[in-house]
Symmetry: C2
Subunit: 151 residues, 2 copies
DNA sequence: ACCATGTCAATAAACTTAGTCGAGAAGGAG
DNA sequence: CTCCTTCTCGACTAAGTTTATTGACATGGT
């Protein structure tokens, strides 16, 4: 898959924390349970998110993790890129390609990879976590309305 | 990467055969050399392409592989999808998801995965191997022109 | 002092990717 | 009919990546 399990966990964790932006810290164990993420794996993930400057933490009782970046200023793309999930579509692209290719500019496939790369970025960079939070609220409301009308 | 080495080998092999559509069979060894693909790996790939009905083969001397599908009727997407390289962006999507998710329709991330899936398909389904062949010809002409003007 | 929590580095199991190998089957030329 | 050439098939291996798990440690609050 393009988006690994780990990256999805990261997104869910960030989503969870983003909803509580400005509130008191949330324990790893709580996020893990809420989002069904293996707690000790989440530990690793949150630690990386902290390294990335997206979240911060406090130890001791009443400790936990909390959002640093406001949800409306954090795109999904930033998280995915940080977790290296938004890699180049092929190894021969980028400034420092793993797989070297002599063709480069003359490769007939290159425009394809470039379009792909742009299309993917387009999708992820245009959605912030604030958007997702709003979407969830909408869904809940629609769900309620739906229940009302269905009967 | 989204597109594995194997899938890229497959694309190059198909590209190579597509250029000779209607001509006599090409030996694995020749394609391998022309496209810098490990011969015995290419063997596996071509055999799968045959299974998929994209190419056919003949044994014995003067044998080899040849294109069945005309280049203008074969999109890049068809090959990538066949090689499972164009998987769903996440495991929880599709009709028969590997990773089951209770949220499904209510998942806030789902629209993201759907947009992504559509964007990727859009890129790959809109290019045929005929397009690539034409592009290569253009590039060669431009290259010649360029040489002419540069001096 | 103690307990609750985050922190860190190492490790392991499962899976995927990339590639290899040897023996065999089928077509064509002589 | 026999030999050579080429494809065919299935198993195998090596390396890398992903998905965690573990135990010992550090730190903050009461």
């Amino acid at each position: 898959m393009i988006v690994s399990k780990k990256s999805k966990y990261a997104m869910r964790a960030v989503f969870s924390l983003a909803k509580r932006f400005g509130e008191s810290p949330v324990k790893i164990a709580d996020i893990a349970e809420e989002q069904s993420i293996p707690p000790r794996f989440l530990e690793v993930i949150l630690s990386q998110l902290k390294q990335g400057g997206f979240v911060d933490s406090r130890r001791g009782s009443e400790g936990g993790y909390y959002m640093v970046t406001p949800p409306d200023q954090l795109s999904v793309g930033k998280i995915l890129r940080f977790f290296d999930a938004l890699k180049e579509p092929v190894e021969c692209m980028g400034d420092n390609p793993k797989e070297k290719c002599d063709l480069k500019a003359n490769c007939v496939f290159m425009p394809l990879w470039e379009n792909l790369s742009a299309a993917i970025s387009g999708v992820f960079d245009s959605t912030t976590f604030q958007d997702l939070i709003l979407k969830e609220k909408e869904k809940k409301e629609c769900g309620a309305k739906s229940l009302f009308y269905v009967i």
